[in-house]
Symmetry: C2
Subunit: 150 residues, 2 copies
C-alpha cells in the first residue's frame, strides 16, 4: 500500500467522526506496511480536551515501549497541532504524512527541526472535508485549536 | 495561596498516583488563586499512552473555550515532556511552575521560546519522589518518556 491508501483509511475514519457529530480529523499509524492503530478526534463524542485524532490513535494503539514507535509512519488528515506534534516527538515517530495544511498550519516546522520527515499530500478530499466542517461549526473548531472565533 | 501550597497539592496527587502503582507525577491547574483542575499520570491505572499528569489534569478540567486557559497557572511536579509541552502551547497556558527538572529535563526551552513563563522550584520532595520511583521502576519510567533503558 502507498500513501494514498493509508490516507484514504484516515479519511474514512475522519468521516466516521464527522457522522458522529465530531470534529472530522483522523489518524492512522502504520508499521511494516500495515495499519496498527487508528483514531479520530473525540472532543464532542467523549467530551474530551485532549483526544485529537493523533492522540486518539496513539491511545488506541496502547502502551508500547519507546522502540516500538521508531519505525511508525503516522498519517493524519490535517497538519498536527502543538499537542499532537509533542506526542509525535515524545515517542519519536520518525515520519508524518499530512493530508493537508491549508485549513490549519500546525507545527510542521517544529517537527522538521527535530528531524521528523514531514510530507504534505495536499489532498483535495481532506481539504474539502475540513472547509465544510469549519464553515458550519466555527465555534467547535476554534475550541478544538484553543483559539477564539473572530 | 502561593506556589508552595499549589505544588504541595500536586505532590499529594503524585503520591496518590504512586500509591495506585502508577507513575508519581501530577499537575494542578490554578485560576484566580483557586485549583480548577487536577490530575496525575495514569499510564498504569488506565493502560494509557497519553495520560501524563498534565494531560490528565487538562482532561479532568473538561472542554473549555480557548480564552479560558489564558490566565491559568499550571503546576507540575516534573518538567513537562514534549507532549505535555505541546498541550500547554495548544491551549495557550501562559505560566508553568515546575517542581523539579533534575530527574527529567523537559521542553522548558521550547516553552520559553514561545513566550510561556517557566519557573522551576527545585523542590526536594518532588526530586526525592521521582528518584525513588525511577530507581525501582526503570522500565516503566523509560516507557513513559518513550525511551529505552540503557
Amino acid at each position: 500500500m502507498h500513501h494514498a491508501s493509508f490516507m484514504q483509511a484516515a479519511l474514512d475514519q475522519a468521516r466516521t467522526g464527522g457522522a458522529e457529530g465530531g470534529v472530522p480529523i483522523s489518524c492512522v499509524l502504520v508499521k511494516n506496511g500495515r495499519v496498527v492503530g487508528a483514531g479520530h478526534n473525540r472532543r464532542v463524542q467523549n467530551d474530551s480536551a485532549i483526544l485529537h485524532g493523533e492522540m486518539d490513535a496513539l491511545e488506541a494503539t496502547g502502551r508500547r515501549p519507546g522502540a516500538w514507535y521508531k519505525d511508525v509512519i503516522l498519517y493524519t488528515t490535517l497538519s498536527p497541532c502543538a499537542m499532537c506534534t509533542g506526542a509525535i516527538l515524545l515517542y519519536g515517530v520518525p515520519h508524518v504524512v499530512i493530508g493537508e495544511n491549508a485549513s490549519f498550519m500546525g507545527e510542521e516546522a517544529h517537527l522538521k527541526s527535530r528531524g521528523v520527515t514531514v510530507e504534505v499530500l495536499n489532498d483535495p478530499e481532506c481539504k474539502a472535508l475540513m472547509a465544510c466542517f469549519i464553515r458550519d461549526n466555527a465555534a467547535l473548531w476554534y475550541e478544538d485549536i484553543g483559539a477564539e472565533p473572530c
